[in-house]
Symmetry: C2
DNA sequence: AACCAATAGTGTATGCTATACACAGTTTCG
DNA sequence: CGAAACTGTGTATAGCATACACTATTGGTT
């Protein structure tokens, strides 16, 4: 054994597998503090604290800082979004930001909501619910692709800000003439939302690659490589069969002449899936018409 | 204005360290290096480097380290998953880990795939594709909820390891007797996968809250609060109407006597959406039966 | 058997990160 | 006017990933 620290007893080689689970049990010992935390985050996102009457006037605004943060993330990705980078862009010191946001998390919460923006307003006359939902889905997907860094953040358990709600409102608007009950509406909203979020991952990945200057082919090659590892692997008979039956992997612009059984492009795949989801919703609506 | 620095003498980045990286303008100026990076990550995930014949024998294995990393994340969350924490758990120094993984990202890639595990094998006889897909969806959801930290990581653009492929293989297996073409199969796989991933966010958030010791009610209250902000807000007329028409927000175990138009529990909502998606798929299968 | 190259784990150092804290200048109320 | 409340700055700290050099170990080669 190489130069081990003599600091005594390491678990002897036999204890390899046996882990002792002592010490800190994950919870900060405070179940309510976590809830209070979430509530605080939500408040910071929704409420502007009252401007105090005494003291210096602030030179920046929360809005300025959020815009700077967004532009850093847009240009350089989430990893480059540091308090220093934001402050530098504005010409202030890092610590100045803490007069506006108590911590980075609060700034991120605000930036995410702002970056999400509001859904585009309908330009023409209202169309069928099905068409309206499709517009919504494309818009949401486009929004996510235009800011790939949004998908790098765990949406899970983040507070929902005004813009987030506005996307949901717009989807409800699209579903307005389906005649569904409030309960069904909420669940249909969840279905569409879930599909669009889940199905945009690949497109977002491509968008990120593009924004880093990677040509589409290189990206497709990189993404396809993992999948292709299944081909001669006995663990994946069905995957393997499908991959060899098709001509290639995912591609953005179809590099092949369209054939009868064509592998769909990424966009076509999204569209295909969306149609299935909408079919499912439609079936429910139709079957409910009578009641 | 308070002590504003003259904008000229802002500390420029290179004042400090001698070996300062070029100010990275998002793209590492190298479009191919990004692709090469992805490829490297993928290789590290799939291939074990050859054991050298000379030199000391390693005391740990990659497997040991991955297991330690997983158990840290399980117990204390992703934020606690530091190189130090993993090394400490194994009784080694931080730097020892770098003999097995070139960096933290590689360890994370391996840990994610390992933590995902393989889908449960079917115990009984094969059921209808619809039932099989439902089993798959529940299993995947359960897997994600049992390790909420997986959802904190950006799946986007991470390499896909053996276990990830095995989940896809299992879903193809579930869809086996649908008679769909290879192309359609791949797209159906994407639909189901997208829905399940996208629709599990809320459940994962609850799982995380639980693992931190937060009672369900507190969590529901915290999550519901944001939604309820819509209620008296003119920007969200439809959301507001729905929320006031229902009795409450999301709840895990229905706290109310079941009514005719009941707001579904979280699990019921997931199930409801899944049925819609499956309906949509079924419709496609039926309509294709003739061709 | 003696040697040496390759390796494992350690110790230490570096730089980046968020952020706590105290200070100096600024504004407004009493 | 003076104190209170505030803004932005400078400095300090702790945690993090990780580069580098060192020592002990190992097995192939002579």
């Amino acid at each position: 054994m190489a130069g081990r620290t003599g600091q005594g007893d390491r678990p002897s080689p036999e204890t390899k597998g046996g882990r002792r689970r002592e010490d800190l049990p994950q919870a900060p010992a405070n179940p309510e503090s976590a809830a209070r935390d979430l509530q605080k985050r939500s408040e910071l996102l929704w409420e502007d604290p009252p401007r105090p009457s005494r003291g210096s006037k602030p030179t920046m605004s929360r809005e300025d800082i959020v815009q700077a943060a967004i532009s850093v993330a847009d240009q350089s990705g989430l990893a480059a979004l540091t308090m220093y980078a934001v402050a530098e862009r504005l010409g202030f010191t890092t610590m100045a930001l803490y007069r506006y946001f108590p911590n980075k998390e609060a700034l991120l919460d605000a930036s995410v909501d702002a970056a999400m923006g509001t859904p585009p307003r309908r330009s023409g006359p209202r169309e069928s619910w099905r068409q309206e939902v499709k517009h919504w889905a494309y818009a949401k997907r486009a929004m996510l692709c235009s800011r790939p860094w949004l998908a790098e953040l765990p949406f899970v358990a983040a507070p929902h800000g005004p813009n987030w709600l506005s996307w949901h409102e717009a989807l409800l608007e699209a579903l307005a003439d389906t005649g569904l009950s409030p309960e069904d509406l909420m669940d249909m909203l969840s279905v569409v939302h879930a599909y669009v979020s889940g199905a945009s991952d690949t497109a977002i990945s491509l968008a990120r690659a593009r924004s880093r200057g990677m040509p589409d082919e290189l990206w497709a090659q990189a993404v396809g490589r993992d999948l292709c590892r299944a081909i001669h692997d006995l663990r994946y008979p069905r995957l393997s069969a499908i991959l060899t039956s098709q001509s290639g992997g995912i591609s953005d612009a179809s590099p092949l002449p369209v054939r009868a059984g064509r592998p769909r492009t990424m966009e076509e795949g999204f569209d295909f899936g969306l149609e299935r989801v909408l079919d499912g919703i439609e079936r429910y609506i139709d079957s409910n018409e009578g009641s």
